[in-house]
């Protein structure tokens, strides 16, 4: 059972539908016990960093996520769900992130010739030994929608990088914690293969 954490942010259904399509059982829940008993956890996210972190904290789910990570339950953070794993974001400067990893989320600076947010398909450069990207060709295209990007402190955890205005960290992988800035549930066949890799871990 793959549990999708419901902390009040929208768009959980797309992730659910993608796993359903692949034939994996999912459950959308905010119940701590269910989350801690599940085989795998997805932390989705659409919206603003500050609001989402506040919802995660006030519902007690911030602690639940940390407990789950400590327990070693494989976790996949998507988009804002990836950003929240880090210490802080320029999007919500007074609100700390979960701090599971060191590093911060920064805003793309206005640059002539580049629209912000980055919306669309961009190619990712992959780390070879990644479990999340097993079988995915280097340079594969995935779908991004974001105005803020990750700058991980420990580059050893970076599993994929991308280039928009400048290179940035597009996915991380450390132990059983996986996360990506792009939306695998919207990245066609490549995205489905990534979700399948996670489900099979």
């Amino acid at each position: 059972m793959i549990t999708i954490i419901d902390y009040g942010a929208g768009n959980l259904e797309s992730v659910e539908k993608a796993f359903d399509f692949l034939g994996y059982e999912t459950l959308i829940t905010s119940d701590e016990k269910t989350i801690l008993d599940s085989e795998k956890i997805v932390l989705p996210g659409v919206g603003a960093f500050g609001d989402a972190m506040n919802m995660l904290t006030s519902s007690g789910l911030a602690d639940t996520v940390k407990k789950a990570v400590k327990k070693g339950i494989p976790l996949l953070g998507i988009c804002l769900g990836m950003q929240m794993l880090f210490e802080s974001s320029e999007e919500g400067e007074n609100v700390p992130g979960l701090g599971i990893f060191k590093g911060s989320i920064k805003k793309f600076e206005n640059t002539p010739g580049f629209k912000i947010p980055q919306i669309g398909w961009n190619s990712i450069k992959l780390r070879e030994d990644s479990r999340l990207f097993k079988g995915i060709p280097d340079g594969a295209y995935v779908y991004f929608v974001h105005s803020y990007y990750l700058d991980a402190k420990d580059k050893n955890i970076v599993a994929a990088t991308c280039d928009y205005i400048h290179p940035f960290d597009a996915a991380v992988e450390c132990g059983n914690v996986f996360a990506c800035q792009f939306h695998p549930e919207k990245s066609g066949k490549t995205g489905l293969a990534i979700l399948k890799n996670f489900a099979e871990i």
Binding site: S14, K115, I119, V145
Partner: protein, 253 residues
């Protein structure tokens, strides 16, 4: 490198795919979910569904359509047509659409754009603009109700206003070019794309591969939309993309 997007558009009425030529003469030609899945497999980067169902239960029909599509395809898609309220946005996004396109209702109540952007984020608010060159040839006016009513508002000014209110993307249709297959309106597209900092999707007039490369380079568009052309297989998406790649334009292949 971020790629330019090729977006097939499906016009939907009463749950079926149709395509108007110059906004009239609708032809019934297909199941939307099957068509969507076929486009996904064919390499479409994104899909746009314009639902023109006008019945009293249009919202339920739309919700049902969005739900079915979102279970079958895993690329981003936008739903528009008859969107009037924040509740319409909510229903469509909840059922799995990534973006909502709003046209006439935003012209009548521009605050709908800012309210939707505040509530759901700019990234899911697409403002669709139907523009037609004014008789004096100087600039374009916007039209509402599927291109029927001239609002007497300048299209470029409206585009900028829509973005300042929170539109995350503009879908700019040239009514002059639509259905002609003589190419996109490069001047209209470029004028708007150069003045806004959000992506612009060019629409109307695609007839051959060169039209796509023209609007994505000269026209400064971030994406190009076509309906009839792909729907009746006059051009394959992969054919367009290979042509663009050979021209040095970054595409997902």
């Amino acid at each position: 490198m971020l790629t330019k997007r090729i977006i097939p558009c499906l016009d939907i009425k009463d749950g079926r795919v149709v395509k108007g030529i110059n906004f009239v003469n609708l032809r019934d030609a297909g199941d939307p979910v099957e068509t969507a899945a076929a486009y996904d497999a064919a390499g479409a980067d994104e899909l746009v569904f314009l639902d023109i169902t006008a019945s009293s239960d249009a919202r339920e029909i739309k919700a049902d359509l969005v739900r079915k599509i979102s279970k079958a395809i895993f690329i981003p898609f936008t739903v528009g047509g008859g969107i009037r309220t924040i509740d319409d946005f909510k229903v469509i996004l909840r059922e799995g659409a990534d973006k909502v396109a709003v046209n006439s209702a935003a012209i009548m109540d521009p605050e709908l754009i800012s309210k939707a952007a505040d509530k759901f984020g700019s990234q899911c608010v697409v403002v669709a603009i139907d523009a037609k060159r004014r008789e004096d040839g100087q600039g374009w006016n916007i039209y509402k109700n599927g291109g029927r009513i001239d609002m007497g508002i300048d299209a470029v000014e409206w585009a900028q206003k829509a973005v300042s209110l929170g539109a995350g993307e503009l879908l700019v249709t040239s009514m002059d070019a639509d259905g002609t297959k003589n190419g996109y309106d490069i001047e209209l597209t470029r004028t708007i794309a150069e003045l806004v900092n959000v992506p612009v999707i060019a629409s109307g007039g695609a007839g051959k591969c060169e039209h796509f490369s023209d609007v994505l380079t000269e026209g400064k568009a971030d994406a190009a939309l076509a309906a009839t052309l792909f729907h009746y297989k006059e051009l394959e998406i992969s054919e367009v993309k290979r042509f663009l790649r050979d021209k040095g334009i970054s595409v997902r292949l």
